[in-house]
Amino acid sequence: MNNTTRVLMISLLSVAVLAGCKKTVKETPPPPADTTGSTGTVVDNTTAAGAYGPNDLDTDACLRQRVVYFDLDQDSLKPEFQAIVGCHAKYLRDRPSSRMNLEGNADERGSREYNLGLGERRGNAVSSAIQAQGGSGSQISVVSYGEERPVCTESNEDCWARNRRVEIVYTAK
């Protein structure tokens, strides 16, 4: 990763932090205490000012974006997805008990097994980017579905572009 990217990522991250901060303070009341008797601790529910809480996954404009798209046969993260990576990295930092699966996918062209590899590479690319912004690798699992989980089944460029993706799925909020 070159310096320019790093600087860009850091500045995007600051924006994400600010955005997250504002929203939490203005709109989101602290989530009610967990009464279901789950393993959630008190600390989990008393978020520090500016830190993300579980509700933000549904309300925060950045966190609600959970899909990163890729170019054909590429696994490098496009600049427009750095913001998404940034806010999810912050979420992982803010909530050490949270866990995410990064589900890598490919379009239908080419061999299925090779596409499993390609999907994993994309998952790894998002994982590295999140870790570069302070998310912990122990909170992230990468799973590749190759071309087996298309969101679109037409054989055209539009559809292929929608299938070349990594989906961020929280397994623990």
Partner: protein, 439 residues
């Protein structure tokens, strides 16, 4: 190729009744293409001459379809058969010479007791006026297609000197429904697509079926545990074993020719690499260690080397490495995307899915005559997953038609293609079985 339209018409005639009965099984079968240089053969209808209920299978028709599908023969349509001998003594050679037939097969079905039938048949060389073969096969009613495929194998071998591969099976994956409604199945059918049987059903994707060399087991990849895992399943008992479920990719299993080892892809090191597992001890040996995707291992017939797909040079190409390990060498140099190699029994031919832009076709690299010669076996668009017949006379592959996947069998000379379509849903990833009886 000027004679092609004529042949299409003839083939349509031959196949009309076949198509009708195939649809009852959920499959359509049609031949797209013809071969003017194929050997003319007449397979005369073989009537039931017993006293019980007649068997449901038209044996002669199955034999005819098999021989046609190989690309090496063209069968005389029933309507052109002005005589219908059922035994050698009834054969009038001038009739068949006038019909320009090189070979003639006649026979009949009789009772063999206990609800079984016996097919007695003979093969003749029309020009030499000689009997080449006279055999009888006995089976119960539900195995009459097996009998017909074995007859086709014997006829094919007697005339061409190459073992027939009609009495074999194919494994493939089907998908019905999309998204959360998607259901997957690993299926096994006869080589002509008949008698489909479900081996495994799953709500999660299944892929990459691969036969054990004795045809008793299938290795495959399932996502039922969330991540990819490799299983080996016995086809007749249904017993199955989880082989690997490491972090990362568990993919592309293929049995060694002796059935004692499994080549596979694992990315537990962080990157997809080729491994060989000793199925007795479960011990893993890592064969590749390269920054790049290494996957789709497939064994040479003698088990000494493993071909695989790697993008270490930038784009996917086929490489070869000794199955004991060592450095890999690149095998394919034509085409900018070559993947999913299938290797013929003699190691001389390698078929791949070859991509160029948005077009993927099945291509074959033939080194029989020394330096490799390439030919194209499929018309292309999104053709993938080639699999050689055990005698390398045909290649099975998957294609997309609209939004559905279909299977094709194409003769290795690319002259005859046959489509096997599941009536409902998507069919893909065919794998041709080994021979059903060892020699």
């Amino acid at each position: 190729m000027k004679r092609l339209p004529h042949w299409l018409a003839v083939l349509a005639l031959v196949l009309l009744p076949l198509a009708a009965s195939a649809q009852q099984q959920g499959l359509e079968i049609d031949i797209v293409g013809g071969n003017a240089s194929a050997l003319p053969i007449a397979v005369v209808p073989m009537p039931y001459q017993g006293s019980a209920a007649a068997p449901g299978t038209d044996v002669a028709q199955v034999v005819r379809a098999d021989l046609e599908r190989s690309g090496a023969f063209r069968a005389l349509p029933e309507a052109s058969m002005v005589e219908r001998p059922t035994r050698g003594a009834e054969v009038q050679y001038p009739t068949w010479r006038a019909l320009k037939q090189d070979y003639l097969v006649v026979g009949r079905v009789v009772d063999a007791g206990a609800g079984s039938y016996r097919v007695e048949y003979e093969l003749f060389d029309v020009a030499k006026q000689e009997r080449m073969l006279g055999l009888a096969l006995t089976a119960r009613s539900n195995a009459m297609r097996d009998v017909a495929h074995q007859m086709a194998d014997a006829i094919y071998e007697k005339i061409l000197g190459v073992r027939g591969a009609f009495w074999t099976r194919i494994a493939y994956i089907t998908q019905t429904g999309l998204g959360k409604q998607a259901r997957y199945a690993l299926m096994v059918a006869d080589s002509d697509g008949f008698n489909p049987q479900t081996v495994v059903r799953s709500a999660e994707p299944l892929l990459s079926p691969s036969w054990s060399p004795d045809g008793s087991r299938l290795a495959y990849v399932s996502f039922e545990r969330g991540n990819s895992s490799i299983y080996i399943q016995n086809i007749s008992t249904g017993a199955r074993e989880l082989v690997t479920s490491f972090r990362g990719i568990n993919g592309a299993p293929t049995f060694s020719p002796d059935g004692r080892r499994l080549a596979l892809t694992l990315s537990r090191s962080g990157n997809p690499e080729i491994y060989v597992m000793d199925l007795g001890s479960k011990q893993l040996t890592q064969l590749t260690n390269q920054f790049g995707i290494d996957t789709e291992p497939t064994w040479s017939a003698d088990g000494s080397s493993i071909y695989f797909t790697s993008d270490r040079g930038g784009r996917p190409q086929i490489y070869r490495v000794a199955s004991s390990g060592g450095s890999a060498s690149r095998v394919t140099f034509q085409g900018n995307y070559n993947a999913t190699a299938t290797v013929s029994y003699d190691g001389k031919k390698i078929a791949v899915a070859q991509g160029s832009g948005n077009n993927y076709r099945i291509a074959m690299m033939d080194s029989s005559l020394g330096s490799p010669r390439w030919s194209t076996l499929s018309p292309g668009s999104l053709d993938e997953s080639p699999s050689f017949a055990p005698n390398a006379s045909m290649v099975l592959y998957a294609a997309r038609e609209g939004r559905r996947g279909v299977l094709y069998a194409v003769s290795a000379d690319a002259r005859v293609r046959q489509r096997l379509v599941l009536a409902d849903g998507d069919v893909r990833e065919p794998a041709w079985s080994p021979y059903r009886s060892p020699r």
